[in-house]
């Protein structure tokens, strides 16, 4: 019964990735713990986030061993959400700026 077409990879690989995920999570927690602020905080948080997400998708979900056709079909469409998110960030800033300019802060 050697016909199993599934994904078989050495256990060690999973353990390594697992460990790496712990380390990355720990790092992002440390960003908060040490109250890193400003751009640096964002860069660190997003970097760690993307690294973690990438590891999970690539190794745990085996995407890196899938064929490129599947990888492309899964990773390209979310770009539409990215467009939405970027434009909504701009829209949010615009709204906040207008509110700052025209509206009184509510009476305490």
């Amino acid at each position: 019964m050697d016909r199993d077409p599934g994904q078989q990879h050495p256990i060690g690989l999973y353990l390594k990735v697992w460990g790496l995920l712990f380390v990355l999570s720990f790092f992002s927690y440390m960003v908060d713990y040490h109250e890193v602020q400003g751009h640096l905080r964002w860069i660190l948080v997003v970097t760690f986030m993307l690294l973690k997400a990438g590891l999970i998708v690539a190794v745990f979900m085996h995407l890196r061993w899938e064929r490129l056709a599947l990888i492309a079909a899964i990773t390209l469409p979310p770009l539409a959400v990215v467009v939405l998110a970027v434009l909504m960030a701009v829209e949010g800033d615009y709204t906040a700026a207008i509110r700052d300019a025209f509206f009184a802060t509510p009476a305490p």
């Binding site: 490129l68 599947l70 909504m88």
Partner: protein, 230 residues
Amino acid sequence: MTNPTSQTQSPPASATPGWNEVVADWAADRRVFQVSWRKSMMWIFLLSDTFVFGCFLTGYMMVRIATTEPWPNVSEVFALTMFGQSIPLILIAIMTFVLITSSGTMAMAVNYAYRRDRVRCAALMLATAALGASFVGMQAFEWTKLIEDGVRPWGNPMGAAQFGASFFLITGFHGLHVSAGVIYLVIVARRVLAGRYERRGDYEIVEIAGLYWHFVDLVWVFIFAFFYLW
């Protein structure tokens, strides 16, 4: 579940790695992805679910940016007093570690499934489910604590009303996913133990359950970054 054709159809001969391979795959007859129906459907479902969470997070981001009310200091709100010391975000950190641990056990379960190690596979899946359940438990604790602090969907004493609303909506929706995943894993684990997949000689369902579980973890990575660390 393999298609009857899965063995007969090798990747098209002209395939070379890279984009040529993509073109060849999409130009092939019968199927585009060299995976089973179930697995391809799970992937497509997860893609759709990505859009759901993407829109949730985008909506949360937009209202958070747009509101002029101060946003509560998240790392204080979610701090716990342990050993007489207030440690920021500690519960969330523990939850994150629990979920990552569960992802690790799930990955191992898939591995053992393909190795035909029924018992270890089921044990690891049950461990995953247990970790998932404890994650939901901690989330319930966190909800209770926040509700005690006066946070409601319609407002909170610490600032912007959207804080409570987004928190309950997004973590609630994620929590539902985790809960559904726990049930799903328990069912599959039982079937693994009962030998159902052994008889069929096909353990792919474990990997598909794993895909779902890792996705839930993946979503948490984004929630952790955007909700708790912002």
